[in-house]
């Protein structure tokens, strides 16, 4: 976390020599804090102060990257506890766990199925980030073959899971030329794991067992001690596993970790977090609920034990939603959208320019196979009901978009279908648009197909 002006001032020579161009060292410190000046402007600043200031400028949660030949995942570097305070930046990486005890052909097929999964959500292609391979066999050769098989099936990044350093080493060998996450250093093996991570230039996950009945403080102390020791061995990129698995434990501990990093600038725990929701769950839906918590509240890597399309779709969508920048409503350009090559006698529908609203309606019309004109009014990126309540989707605005887009010249009828939720606008719209017939469509996009089937010019 950035230092305040006063904190910076204490690191400066405090001689008020003015050579930096500012009248006093304090004034210069204030400019530095506001990032309106460069430290290099001070000719007398000590090396020690330089180092301290550089360290303070580093992000409170380290950015950690894992990479395969075809995909890169960056997590960490978050700056807020709540998305409304600014935004969450680096989406939690979603990984699927497989074990090296599976026959290799089954393993490959499972990886291909999970990594081949893709789904369109409001025009974006959503997919999973990679594979976590666990050395459940405990045998280096078996693990190495499994990692090789996974790499033949996908070019996305890997998380290598092994307790014994020798087994991990075999896995790392098979993951050559990629940047996997090594999971995990524990109090028993950390020195060897740190050496492996340093050699492979790969990030290292660090796990401590939680202390039973503690509020988290005790075990976080152990975790902090380990990261400091590992850092001392030359490993910079780490990922935390505080060992908690149940819903209340993860919510509390992950919140505490985020707070420690952001509010206390506590470097020993300023790393992204890895979670295993399946280990705290009794079945698939349980895992999904816990995974959804980890996506919203502070997970960096979320390793899932099931690949079930319905669940993956829901989790990927939730992740998109939570990581949407609240300062930038996702909008589409207002105007006329042509769907399924509409003709002059095709129906004309109006909706708002909130992208989720637009895609719901456009996908529905598209899927119905029937041609249609979709008029997207400028409702400042709000959904139909919200925009209507806020006065951004009223008769005047709708009429304006009818008149300004030139849709009249493209159609041979004067019929406009409005969303059922704003049926109350019918009378006013007929006044605003003389000669037009205003028709009330369904309230939800999902019912448009049935509606359009019955429509005629």
């Amino acid at each position: 976390m950035a230092l305040t002006g006063l904190q910076i001032y204490k690191l400066l020579p405090r001689t008020n020599c003015k050579e930096c161009g500012y009248p006093t060292c304090l004034a210069f410190a204030m400019k530095l804090a506001a990032k309106q000046a460069e430290l290099a402007a001070c000719p007398y600043v000590s090396e020690e102060a330089k180092a301290q200031l550089a360290a303070a400028a580093a992000p409170p949660i380290r950015l950690v990257t894992v990479e395969g030949p075809g995909h890169k995942v960056e997590v960490g570097n978050e700056t807020v506890l709540f998305r409304h305070e600014k935004t969450f930046y680096h989406k939690a990486g979603l990984f699927i766990r497989v074990r090296d005890t599976m026959p290799l052909d089954e393993l490959k097929a499972a990886v291909q199925a999970a990594m081949g999964f893709g789904v369109d959500y409001v025009g974006m292609d959503l997919f999973l980030d990679g594979i976590a391979v666990e050395a459940a066999s405990g045998v280096g050769q078996t693990f190495q073959s499994a990692v090789q098989a996974v790499r033949e099936a996908t070019d996305r990044p890997l998380i290598l899971i092994a307790d014994a350093p020798a087994v991990m080493e075999a896995g790392v060998k098979a993951a050559e030329d990629t940047r996997p996450l090594l999971y995990a250093a524990t109090p028993d093996n950390w020195e060897a794991m740190a050496a492996l991570a340093k050699e492979a230039q790969a990030p290292l996950a660090v796990r401590t067992p939680p202390l039973p009945g503690e509020d988290g403080g005790g075990s976080l102390g152990d975790l902090a001690e380990m990261t400091e020791q590992i850092k001392g061995k030359g490993v910079q990129d780490m990922v935390l596993d505080p060992g908690v698995r149940d819903p209340i434990g993860t919510l509390v501990t992950l919140t505490q970790l985020r707070r420690l990093a952001l509010k206390k600038n506590f470097r020993p725990l300023g790393y992204p977090i890895i979670t295993f929701p399946g280990e705290g769950a009794t079945d698939q839906i349980d895992e999904d609920m816990l995974a959804s918590q980890h996506i919203a509240k502070y997970g960096g890597f979320v390793v899932l034990d099931h690949f079930t399309p319905a669940s993956i779709y829901a989790l990927l969508v939730l992740r998109e939603n939570i990581y949407t920048n609240p300062q930038e409503p996702i909008q589409v350009q207002p105007g006329i959208y042509e769907i399924n090559e509409p003709k002059p006698d095709s129906p004309l529908m109006v909706t708002t320019n909130f992208s989720i609203t637009y895609f719901s309606v456009a996908n529905e019309v598209d899927g119905s196979g029937m041609p249609g004109w979709l008029l997207v009014a400028d409702a400042e990126g709000m959904s139909v009901l919200t925009a209507w309540a806020a006065g951004k989707f009223d008769a005047e605005r709708i009429a304006k978009s009818v008149k300004t887009t030139g849709i009249e010249g493209k159609i041979s009828h004067h019929k406009l279908i409005i969303p059922g939720h704003v049926a109350v606008l019918m009378g006013e719209l007929e006044e605003e648009l003389p000669g037009w017939e205003i028709q009330v469509g369904p309230r939800e996009a999902v019912d448009l197909t049935g509606f359009l089937k019955l429509w005629h010019p």
């Binding site: 998305r83 902090a224 919203a296 939603n321 959904s383 806020a390």
Partner: protein, 322 residues
Amino acid sequence: MAVPVEIPVEKWMGKVREVTLGAVPDEGGTRSHTVTVGGETMLPFLHFEGEIPNPPRIAIEIANRRPDDWSPLLMEAWGDVMDDPATWAKAAEEAGADLILLQLILTKDGNEPTTASDASAATRAVLEATGLPILVFGPGQVDADNELLVAVAEEAVGERVVLGICEEKNYRTIVAAALAHAHLVNSRTPMDVNLAKQLVILISDMGLPLERVLMDPTTAGLGYGIEYGYSVMERLRIAALQGDTMTQQPMLVTPGYEAWRQKEAKVGEGVPEAWGDWRERAVLWETMTATALVESGADILVMRHPEAVKRVKAFIEELMGK
């Protein structure tokens, strides 16, 4: 040697107001017990820095008649009980409801408008069928809401029923009915912190004690803007804990309605293959919408599918540390 770690603990000044739904015979009602929500002194489930004396509660939504537009999966889950609100209320209670929400539908079968006496009769039938506290929501059109909810308020006098939807356009009528007949109101505003606060002020100015007001900031389903509702709820709850008294009402949200109107839950045909199995997806859509909202501060979740109710209830119990 463990590194000393000082966990940052927020010292909140404020507390969410406790609101009690329902009245037992001694209090002028006929409920077998009351349900209290609110009272939190910390952000959701962060037990290390405050209290959550009352768990979030689940209201199962039923209707005065079989709804026309509910998903076939919901029709299948409830079956014939949907034809009779009293039977439906009993089934909802058995499915684990803490509260029953009776949704009044605008028209009867055959497109005749639902009348005040229909609404009263349905309310009476539900009150007789279940001992749980109830909420009654109008169809969401101001004129109809006013007419039906005033009748409901009279019929259920003394029961401390939550009347909804009480919004900017009709709050005067609904609040007056709540004042006259000892009920509560659900103050609904469209996804905005200031509007939520403002309507609570207006309701309070009419003389309704804040111990009888729930706050419904409106939310959205997973994939359809849930992040807006989620953040508005987080902001409202933070404001409440910081001591802003007009944001300290317990929050009611409707994940059942929001999830089940979306295509992902509602229909099984004509959707991308990548969406996976319909049943799994549909129940999950409601479940995940609800869990996201309970972790952002919901005190009452209005839900629809019995399986989703079961799931979310179990999750809440775990979050409560039970």
